[in-house]
């Protein structure tokens, strides 16, 4: 609180007091009091007023600073009204009571929303697990079809699977509780899992996958990382060029391990590059061919942030794209 704010708050009171003092002085002078005494009285009264008001100002400022520092220290600001110290007067107490009621209504609303989100996430997870059973059965059943039919059906099934996976990881990434498990994992295993999951799509698109130097191990959640790699592989198949090649290569850089996923596809225009990790961003490549959801890279970014894995993208139009995962 600044001094001007304080003064402007009390301006009317001061004007009123000044008028009262002037009237009193006039009355005293008219009733024959000596002007020297009136002046003395006026000075004493003014000093008392200034002293009291200054003390008042300092107290107000101290109180506000105290409240502000409580607010600063709070992780969840909406819990403020629960944390303020006892009110110092009736007026303040009433105000704080009102804040408390507002705060409680807000806390209720927030926890309802959190519960709803958690329930929704649980539902999505259960649904995903349930849908996987018929997908598995269908995969086994279509084995008995002739090889051309089997290949087509397998590809469609793996498309379904990819969409289901994305729904699952979306629910996981958006949820407040993160249940990833970081442990030592081999990059070769993760890469094999990701390539295996998307092999129909990759084979169908004539993609060759090369792996280099994947003997290293990193600290990460295997499933989450395999999902991220899967998104990058799908992108490489979708935005491919004439004879598509994807290279998965790792290298050590100090304490970090860098896993680069490089493709020789159509690339991303430089002005779109900063936005590719945005949710729902599809860009000119996506508009051109359809089937883009704008979710793949967004989910990669979310999952990478959760696990504190770095994520970098470089691309040149017509040359290809490199996405680098940086493990610490």
């Amino acid at each position: 609180m600044t001094i001007t704010e304080f003064l402007s708050d009390r301006l009317r009171r001061f004007v009123l007091w000044a008028v009262f003092a002037a009237v009193t002085a006039a009355f005293l002078l008219l009733t024959g009091t000596q002007s020297g005494i009136v002046l003395l009285l006026g000075i004493v009264w003014a000093l008392v007023v200034i002293g009291v008001q200054t003390a008042d100002f300092l107290r107000c400022r101290l109180r506000l600073r105290e409240l502000e520092s409580i607010m600063e220290g709070l992780d969840r600001k909406y819990l403020f009204s629960e944390c303020v110290p006892r009110a110092r007067n009736a007026y303040e107490r009433r105000l704080l009571e009102l804040f408390c009621r507002a705060g409680r209504a807000m806390i209720g609303a927030v926890s309802d929303a959190q519960a709803a989100q958690r329930e929704y996430r649980e539902y999505v997870e259960r649904w995903v697990h349930e849908i996987k059973t018929p997908i598995t059965a269908a995969g086994l059943i279509c084995r008995s079809a002739d090889s051309e039919m089997r290949r087509k059906l397998t590809q469609e099934l793996s498309q379904i699977e990819a969409h289901v996976e994305r729904a699952l990881f979306y629910a996981r990434a958006e949820s407040a509780e993160k249940d990833f498990v970081v442990c030592r994992a081999s990059l070769a295993e993760i890469a094999a899992e990701a390539v295996g999951r998307h092999r129909s799509l990759l084979i169908q698109n004539g993609v060759r996958v090369e792996t280099e130097n994947l003997e290293q191990t990193v600290h990460t959640d295997k499933k989450w990382t395999a999902f991220m790699l899967g998104q990058l592989l799908q992108n490489a198949a979708r935005y491919r060029s004439g004879s598509p090649v994807v290279t998965l290569s790792a290298r050590q850089l100090g304490a970090q391990v860098l896993l680069a996923v490089h493709d020789n596809g159509i690339g991303i225009p430089a002005h779109e590059l900063p936005r590719v990790f945005d949710r729902g961003f599809t860009g000119s490549n996506g508009h051109g061919r359809g089937g883009s959801t704008g979710m793949g890279l967004y989910l990669c970014r979310r999952l990478a942030d959760c696990m504190a894995v770095g994520l970098q993208i470089d691309s040149e139009e017509g040359k290809g794209t490199t996405v680098t995962l940086i493990f610490h």
Partner: protein, 221 residues
């Protein structure tokens, strides 16, 4: 023949999985009553158990401990629960492997084979013989009579696949899939290059025309 016990509550998956394993030369044993499974396992004496986690009336985690006490067979969890925590829990409860649904079939078969081999219940053929050739998988070489030629990883897998289906036509697409199953991620052109090189090596062994091209269909040994 190895007996594989399937504990899975979805009937379609169970039946198809049993069929698949039967075609692969195993003896599948399906569980249809989900009560007192460890006792059923003890009676059946399987060589391997495929165990689902979400079962009616009990969960696979607690069942695994019971199975471990009842029989010595290795257990592979096959489940749609894919979180890292579930996997760690399954493996710490004595599971030998953990496969998430929907699995790709060659991967499932490879893991079954690997677990059986680890537990010493399967003898992996070291040498495949067909068409006058002997293929030594571990050594990575092929021999015809006295002559021997070393093969690259790609050539070895191509030849193994062709020899495994000797006499049949193997389509290029099937060959590519078989290679991808062995983590060799090649495309159509690379396959042609590798087959040409392989033919060159077989010619060196005095078998120049062993791999026949069936136009529009694939290759035949």
């Amino acid at each position: 023949m190895q007996k594989i016990m399937i504990i899975e509550d979805d009937p379609a998956t169970r039946e198809e999985l049993a069929l698949l394993l039967e075609n692969e030369g195993y003896f599948p044993y399906t569980v249809t009553a989900f009560t007192d499974i460890p006792a059923q396992a003890a009676r059946a004496c399987p060589d391997l158990i495929l165990l689902d986690i979400g079962l009616p009336g009990c969960d696979g985690f607690s069942l695994c401990a019971g199975l471990r006490r009842a029989v010595s067979a290795p257990v592979i969890f096959v489940t749609s629960r894919d979180s890292g925590l579930d996997e760690i829990r399954a493996l710490s409860l004595g599971g030998d492997d953990y496969i998430t649904k929907p699995y790709n079939i060659p991967v499932l078969l490879a893991r079954v084979k690997a677990v059986l081999r680890r537990s010493g219940r399967a003898a992996e053929p070291e040498v495949i013989e067909a068409g006058g050739l002997s293929l030594h998988l571990a050594k990575g070489c092929v021999s015809a009579g006295e002559k021997t030629a070393a093969l690259t990883r790609n050539e070895l897998q191509i030849l193994a696949c062709l020899m495994g289906h000797a006499g049949e036509i193997v389509s290029r697409a099937d060959l590519i899939e078989a290679l991808w199953d062995n983590q060799i991620y090649i495309d159509d052109n690379t396959l042609s290059v590798n087959v040409t090189r392989l033919r060159g090596k077989l010619a060196g062994l005095g078998q120049p025309d062993l791999i026949k091209t069936r136009r529009g269909m694939g290759y035949q040994l």
